[in-house]
């Protein structure tokens, strides 16, 4: 069986297709407008979606994919009464010890307490957050010091009045913020033993938990927090809470869900059913974020699909007109030996050339659109290979899908009738 020659001479065929299209420049340009809009929409959708995905991934990674957070939460009056009736002690070191003891997959447990204490000599443009935490907190949160050292177990045991400053706090304090100097927190002097590395914080949009701004933190040993008056605890609603947050690390990310279930049971039992805490799993946040993203993608995808559908119908319309207009040419080509497949390929090539050109222009305008979105709306966007390839591939498929019927009609024409067409 003879293979179609056109497949062996694709460059020639594409060249002829482009020349035929360029015969009617305005018509060609108008006919691909729909495809341009559709491809632009697809590209923008992918880039915004990818940007949002990356952003939430970074945020979740900052919280730690192997971590589970237990946060003390504010209670309503009814809840407070229930807490007293249930004799819930609030979030405390006992919870941390219980979790460590009873959860099989747990490798480490850290905890902290946020304090309302002011750091003297700090400029007004920053508001350092003083937190008292366990020695393993820095390690578990993967925050490292650029100068000096982190808090140690010895600092806890010896109740040392030492602190580690966030990068911005240290810089803000100037010479006074150097390791070895002292900083006044409320009425007490704390020796600076370390300075944290600068931290690129991504704000988590979910209200459930936020990655702390380590740049503006002052970390002191948990034992040293006792010297601050109980009133200074910002956990004012649940004054009895010893801690603000417990961070539990499990062995592997796939153990997070099962461990979170166990923790919820332990906490429910220990707190007498009083919900004065919240168990937050970053992975769950990621899933929620992905779910929202999917909804967003479906909406934008539908818009893009409709645009492409409209564009495709425009292409089919113009190809039908082209076939009708070039009936005689079809007859000539058939008389010169073109098979039906050759005619199909010829018109399909024209349709695909049309939509691919539209795709290319759409990708270019889409890139500009993505840039505008990130510049004006300040949305995080990401242009990946997929955001180029998928719209272009879609434009080719649109060309094939909507060009096939006109091409088929052209191929099925009676050569003699086509030759006699006036």
């Amino acid at each position: 069986m003879r293979h179609t020659r056109l497949l062996k001479k694709p460059v020639k065929v594409i060249n002829i297709a482009l020349r035929s299209l360029l015969q009617h420049k305005l018509r060609t340009a108008l006919s691909i407008l729909g495809v341009i809009c559709g491809v632009m929409a697809v590209m923008t959708m992918i880039s915004i979606g990818e940007g949002a995905k990356r952003e939430s991934l970074v945020q979740i990674e900052q919280l730690g994919t192997k971590n589970i957070y237990i946060k003390a939460i504010s209670l309503t009056d009814v809840q407070k009464k229930k807490a007293m009736d249930g004799r819930s002690p609030g979030l405390g070191a006992g919870d941390a010890a219980r979790i460590r003891r009873e959860c099989p997959g747990v490798t480490d447990v850290a905890y902290l307490k946020e304090l309302r204490a002011s750091v003297m000599a700090a400029a007004k443009d920053i508001s350092p957050q003083v937190v008292a935490c366990s020695a393993n907190y820095s390690g578990l949160q993967s925050i490292h010091v650029s100068h000096g050292r982190s808090l140690t177990e010895q600092d806890m045991v010896q109740n040392n009045q030492v602190c580690v400053l966030g990068d911005r706090v240290a810089k803000n304090l100037g010479l006074q913020g150097h390791v070895g100097n002292f900083v006044r927190i409320e009425d007490s002097l704390f020796k600076i033993i370390g300075q944290l590395q600068p931290f690129d914080r991504k704000a988590v949009k979910s209200g459930a938990i936020t990655a702390r701004n380590y740049n503006e933190m002052v970390i002191i040993p948990l034992a040293a927090a006792a010297m601050f008056d109980e009133k200074q605890s910002i956990n004012s609603v649940s004054k009895s809470s010893e801690l603000t947050e417990i961070i539990v690390q499990v062995r592997s990310a796939d153990q997070v869900d099962s461990t979170a279930k166990i923790i919820r049971r332990i906490m429910e039992h220990a707190h007498g059913g009083v919900e004065d805490y919240q168990v937050v799993v970053p992975q769950e946040l990621l899933r929620q974020s992905q779910k929202i993203q999917r909804t967003f993608n479906v909406v934008l995808g539908s818009i893009a699909f409709i645009s492409l559908l409209v564009g495709g119908i425009g292409i089919m319309n113009i190809m039908l007109a082209t076939v009708s207009e070039r009936t005689r040419e079809i007859g000539i080509r058939r008389s010169l030996g073109a098979t039906q497949e050759d005619i199909i390929i010829q018109f399909l090539t024209e349709a695909v050339s049309l939509t691919f050109s539209g795709g290319l222009i759409g990708v270019l305008t889409g890139t500009v659109c993505v840039w505008l979105v990130s510049t004006i709306a300040k949305w995080t966007t990401a242009i990946t290979m997929l955001s180029f390839i998928l719209p272009l591939l879609t434009s080719v498929l649109i060309g094939i899908f909507f060009g096939l019927y006109p091409a088929y009609l052209a191929a099925k024409m009676d050569p003699i009738a086509a030759l006699r067409y006036e």
């Binding site: 020349r19 008389s335 050569p415 030759l419």
Partner: protein, 232 residues
Amino acid sequence: MANLIEANKICKDFQIGVSKIQALRDIDFHANRGDFVAIMGASGSGKSTLLYILGCLDRPTTGTYFLDGQDVSHTTDRELSHIRANLIGFIFQTFNLLPQLNIYENVEVPFLYGSIDGEEIEERVTRAIRQVGLLHRLKHRPSELSGGEMQRVAIARAICMDPVLILADEPTGNLDSQTGLDILKTFEELHDHGATILLVTHAREVAAFARRKLTLRDGKFIETYPITEEAR
């Protein structure tokens, strides 16, 4: 040696509404390699229908047609296309050039569908255009040519594949008498070089250039006779 064309008892019917029209009735037509045959007839006599059947653009309703020893009356559409691409060259009254392509590209079109590849294409296209004397107009579009020049391009396109049979449908119908004469002289030259030409016309003076003349009326040959040198 077998005839190049052996068409026996060819009938062609067309169904128009409820009535059936017999365009060709029991046509027997034979031609050897190197023949130059003119088929004459008035409008509606069936000469173009016969030309399209002999040119493998159409199939007879009944009868057999052997071209170069191959039965082409019962072949598939794809095979007919293959035969047209490689064995037959068409020349039409209205030239039928593709307006978006230049002269070179127009002559190159049959190679998109034929069995010749590579550098031979360029060689053959150039040779064909040289043969019709239009090498200096390679890059011109059909719209920039005169009628005679367009028909010469069509001749170049018809001969570039070295077909066994050249079919011409009223090739001088759209030309003035002098240009028509030039075109017919080109046909004579092609015939002198061994080409087999089948020419359909209603004009006696055109048919006179052929070596044999057949006249069709109502789908049947009514006279067949050779044309002498003197008659021409």
